[in-house]
């Protein structure tokens, strides 16, 4: 017994990027420990779309709820995963840090009475267990935890791992039986409200253009939106402008908002208070535009422009459009 169970999500028939991170990490663990890696795909998916998951050293792909529902159902997902745990008795169950991963992983851990370690950023295989690193205090501190060989549930920090492929062994598909759902206790999804305008979410975007109090007026956020449009970026916001009601909380980056790590983070009119900093410090590249040359943001931004955003942003937009 033993082995890995990787929980993968599909959306619009594509495997989500955060799930590819899971495949990449689970492959590494499987390889180091010589474990079998069974993968279950949840959500709308088609078998003949398998080129996306071809090179991760998978042993078996289990299709769960893939033809039944396109939307999240805690009970259905839970049931499928618990059945698979019973069947394979994995020693390690890996989820992504997606919204679904965050919701379903504690349900699984609690049902199995296993430990759940969320937001993992490093998983080291040791002789008698695992050593896992994860950020705490919104990333101000990194902790290393040691787990012995008892079964464990993990979820990965999204957008943190690089996706490494390997040569593929053959793998087979198997449809998972999900006819019987007993023990229904979870809420039911009634409706999905799509945004009025197709917008990118900060937690998924590879570029974020964020605005803060330096924007001065809510109407001026048009500039931020326009720049985001040109760069195909998500709009982010500091706590100050969210608390003032200028922007929705879904855009807030920081300790009480989202913790993001895009390839590029452009902070405009954001001073960079510690609560904001912890939310974006792991961005691969940070650009700051602020008129106050003493703003804390310049202490950790890779590139800075000290100046009036109302001159610089329009120039940036028109240069990028060229």
């Amino acid at each position: 017994m033993g082995g890995i169970l990787s929980i993968i999500e599909a959306k619009n028939k594509e495997i989500k990027n955060s799930s590819l991170e899971v495949l990449s990490e689970s492959q590494k663990i499987a390889n180091t420990k010589d474990l079998e890696n069974n993968v279950v795909i949840l959500g709308e998916y088609e078998e003949n779309n398998s080129n996306q998951i071809n090179e991760f050293g998978i042993n078996k792909v289990l299709l769960g709820a893939t033809n039944k529902i396109e939307n999240y159902s805690p009970d259905l997902y839970k049931n499928i995963i618990l059945n698979l745990i019973e069947k394979f008795e994995p020693e390690i169950i890996i989820f992504s840090g997606s919204a679904i991963g965050k919701d379903i992983s504690p349900r699984i851990a609690a049902n199995m009475n296993y430990n759940l370690v969320t937001e993992c950023i490093e998983i080291k295989v040791e002789e008698n267990g695992y050593e896992i690193k994860r950020p705490i205090y919104a990333g101000k501190i990194i902790q290393t935890l040691k787990f012995n060989n008892n079964p464990i549930v993990l979820s990965l920090k999204s957008n943190y791992f690089s996706i490494n492929k390997v040569e593929q062994k053959d793998f087979s598909f198997e449809q998972v039986n999900n006819e019987e759902i007993g023990n229904i206790i979870s809420p039911v999804l009634k409706e999905i409200i799509q945004p009025q305008k197709e917008t990118l979410d900060v937690s998924e975007a590879s570029i974020i253009v964020a605005g803060g109090r330096g924007i001065k007026e809510p109407e001026n956020f048009k500039l931020i939106e326009e720049l985001a449009d040109v760069l195909n970026a998500a709009v982010g916001a500091s706590r100050a402008v969210v608390d003032a009601g200028w922007r929705p909380h879904s855009e807030q980056v920081g300790q009480t908002g989202k913790i993001v790590s895009p390839n590029l983070y452009i902070a405009i009119g954001i001073s960079g208070a510690i609560q904001h900093q912890v939310g974006m410090i792991n961005s691969k590249c940070i650009v700051a535009i602020n008129k106050d040359k003493n703003a804390p943001i310049f202490k950790f931004a890779d590139y800075g422009i000290v100046g009036d955003l109302f001159e610089i942003i329009p120039e940036l937009i028109s240069e990028l459009k060229k």
Partner: protein, 251 residues
């Protein structure tokens, strides 16, 4: 209607955290403790329900050392009716153990609604409320930005990954709450005085907790190096674009 709100005391988010000499704990001297911000938003939602219906009883539940009482008094001053302090001086790391302890306490009463913050801003575990739902077989909707109660039903919105998922459940239910839309209230001095008359029941945690993980060390993340100022006016824009396109290749 009986509402329970579970709160955790955490270091103030503005705290500079210093790792102690043992490399396994945070230096507590000089840290100001506050109620976890997400728990405060959850409490605010409960208080707003009580504003409209005085018969609602709000019970606060918190696990932690003696200092937690101070936060409990604050919640009573804000308008909660009573508090339960599950006291322990032990640091309990494994969430499954924390969830089990709190789940046992919740079982003792009939709550219609149990509210949590979506996560605590110290350990960022994001799991205890959801686990308690499974342990006590109570429906849980996590990461809600708002909810409403209609008779025996609760309807809650989860704003996730660019969409809003509307979930529905029968009561009793557990909600883990995002930062809300509502502004928090602050207790007056008079409220604080009055809160001293409200009951805080202390319960000791039974010991012999089955510890499942070992904290090996704490460390600071790698520090980001101070970058460069490209310029001071709009003429620096071309240089910025060149760097992002040609050197960094990210746009």
């Amino acid at each position: 209607m009986n509402i329970a709100v579970c709160v955790k005391q955490v270091p103030d988010t503005a705290s500079q955290l210093i790792i102690s000499g043992d490399n396994k704990s945070i230096d507590e001297s000089g840290i100001k403790y506050e109620i976890n911000p997400f728990d405060e938003y959850a409490l605010e939602e409960a208080l707003r329900l009580k504003d409209k219906d005085e018969t609602i009883k709000i019970t606060i539940i918190s696990l932690g050392p003696e200092r937690v009482k101070q936060s409990l008094t604050k919640t009573l001053a804000m308008g909660a009716d009573e508090a339960i302090h599950i006291e322990t001086n032990e640091v309990i790391d494994d969430c499954i153990n924390i969830a089990t302890i709190i789940a046992n306490e919740i079982k003792k009463n009939q709550y219609d609604l149990i509210l949590f913050g979506k996560k605590s801003v110290d350990q960022d575990n994001n799991q205890v409320g959801i686990m308690i739902g499974e342990i006590n077989k109570i429906s849980c909707i996590s990461n809600c930005s708002e909810f409403k109660i209609e008779g025996k039903k609760i309807i809650a919105n989860r704003e996730v990954e660019g969409i809003v998922e509307v979930f529905e459940s029968e009561l009793p239910a557990i909600i883990t709450h995002e930062k809300g839309r509502n502004e928090l209230r602050y207790p007056s001095l008079k409220d604080l005085m009055a809160a001293k008359k409200k009951p805080i029941n202390t319960i000791k945690v039974e010991t012999n907790i089955d510890k499942r993980s070992e904290l090996l060390k704490l460390e600071y993340p790698e520090k980001r190096e101070e970058g460069v100022i490209i310029g001071e006016d709009k003429s620096s824009v071309t240089e910025l674009i060149r760097i992002l396109k040609e050197e960094k290749k990210i746009i």
